[in-house]
């Protein structure tokens, strides 16, 4: 059941913004099929870290290793083309704002089809069938296939973005506040959808969120960040129920329960 080598290893990752620390000296490993949450208040370096891990911004120090088959690659030591190819086929990014992850001038079906074409699919009939299947999986009526995502609600756009990312069958998905900005009922639906997809596709994921309830429902393990550092790390329910660090205790005690 357990694969013994990590899928991704971050080693002393540091990213500075003109002397100001984005994140400093971050090290951890992610195993296949594991869902890791990164929590902490705004400005604690969560998104900076995610962008470095996902291949968008090289760290100033440290390295990120990704395992492909039996080989481990330092993703920023690869040439640009190889890194891009890896980003396209091995992992995906779900942005907080679906408009950053979708092509708004392309139809809903086209948004999903582009991902398939990017990994080399050319058979139109098969692609159409997969697109329809994915629209259903993310609970978008397949009659909307030719509609522009601009005519979709925020929740539908977010689900379309998830379909666009997951149709490519990545092994690792990065998510930045995937339920941020959605109303509560839409959030619950999206959470359930993500939970089922992660289980069925055996995905590994790194999810940045400031919502501890989302972290509890979706993640296996948590990293708590403050001022660019990891201050506490462990099993999600252990961190939330038995926090050891003063800041984590403050964070968990500040949650309002409905």
């Amino acid at each position: 059941m357990i694969e013994e080598a990590p899928l991704l290893r971050a080693q002393n990752v540091t990213r500075l913004y003109g002397g100001r620390v984005g994140c400093r000296d971050i090290s951890f490993s992610l195993w296949p099929g594991e869902v890791l949450g990164v929590v902490g208040e705004s400005g604690s370096g969560k998104t900076t870290l995610l962008r470095s891990l996902a291949g968008f911004e090289p760290p100033d120090e440290g390295a990120i290793h990704f395992r492909h088959g039996t080989e481990e690659h330092d993703i920023y030591a690869l040439d640009e083309a190889s890194r891009r190819a890896m980003m396209r086929t091995e992992w995906g990014m779900v942005h907080q704002n679906p408009r950053d992850g979708l092509r708004l001038d392309v139809s809903a079906g086209g948004n999903i089809g582009e991902s398939l074409m990017a990994r080399g699919d050319r058979h139109y009939g098969k692609m159409r069938a997969r697109i329809t299947d994915w629209l259903q999986r993310v609970e978008i009526d397949s009659s909307r296939i030719d509609d522009s995502p601009q005519s979709f609600s925020g929740g539908m756009q977010q689900r379309l973005q998830i379909a666009r990312v997951l149709v490519a069958e990545p092994r690792l998905v990065f998510m930045d506040e995937p339920t941020g900005g959605l109303d509560v009922s839409v959030q619950a639906r999206l959470l359930d959808l993500l939970r089922v997809l992660v289980r069925d596709l055996h995905l590994a994921a790194i999810i940045v969120t400031h919502d501890l309830a989302v972290a509890r429902l979706l993640t296996d393990r948590l990293i708590v960040m403050k001022d660019g550092h990891i201050i506490e790390e462990g099993l999600t329910d252990q961190i939330l129920d038995d926090p050891h660090h003063a800041y984590t205790q403050l964070l968990t005690s500040a949650v309002l329960s409905a």
Partner: protein
């Protein structure tokens, strides 16, 4: 006699950093051995650390000292300090925690909640559905409720959904935190029967039950805990 769990030298303190750094000393030098087919009931006044001990055994609380070794895949594994993916694998196949509260994603239907663990463990959909249906029926939850999310159910109904999910395909080790707390007598008896059947089938259990009638019916052994003083 097959040892399923051995906990030794458990010590647990809580440091409340945001409340003047108060240190609560909850458990000190606690040992517990548990064999297959046993039900150890934890006794002691409120604050004696019964729930804390149960949560340490589950890997939910981190002890300051001590080890919790449990039988997983034929070998004894220490859950304290084990890698996350290891702990999760243990929880998926070997160890479960049954509380009186149901914690689920808001809109998931009752039947799907009960099936979920079975699907995760690779049991086919048809079999999972059949077993879930039988268990819900046994716990007197009528079929009209199966398609609904339990958010609108009564406390006792939610509790039974939780029990259904835990006992439909029970793990070799079960930790029970007041699973019969707010049930009516009829359903309490069903649950007591379920616990008995599961234990006799070979599962090992540690439980907290405030109802003495229930605990004397199901306990094969009692473990007494006494409260500690603040340091």
């Amino acid at each position: 006699m097959i040892t399923m769990l051995e906990a030794c030298g458990l010590r647990k303190t809580f440091t409340l950093h945001n409340q003047n750094g108060v240190v609560l000393n909850v458990l000190d030098h606690v040992d517990l051995d548990l064999a297959a087919g046993e039900m150890v009931v934890l006794k002691g006044p409120s604050g004696a650390g019964k729930s804390t001990l149960l949560r340490i055994l589950y890997g939910n609380y981190k002890p300051v000292a001590g080890a919790v070794r449990l039988r997983h895949d034929g070998e004894m594994v220490d859950i304290v300090g084990a890698r996350t993916s290891r702990v999760l694998d243990i929880r998926r196949r070997t160890l479960s925690f049954v509380s009186q509260f149901l914690r689920v994603i808001p809109r998931v239907a009752t039947l799907d909640i009960v099936k979920d663990q079975m699907l995760t463990r690779g049991i086919g959909d048809a079999e999972a559905t059949e077993r879930a249906a039988a268990m819900l029926t046994r716990l007197n939850l009528p079929e009209q409720m199966w398609g609904l999310a339990p958010a609108t159910f009564s406390g006792g109904e939610q509790q039974r959904v939780n029990i259904a999910r835990s006992f439909v395909a029970p793990t070799p080790l079960l930790l029970l935190d007041e699973p019969t707390a707010s049930l009516d007598p009829v359903n309490r008896d069903v649950v007591v029967e379920l616990i008995e059947t599961t234990r006799k089938a070979g599962s090992a259990m540690v439980g907290i039950f405030h109802d003495d009638a229930v605990s004397s019916r199901i306990a094969t052994r009692v473990m007494q805990l006494s409260p500690r003083k603040a340091v």
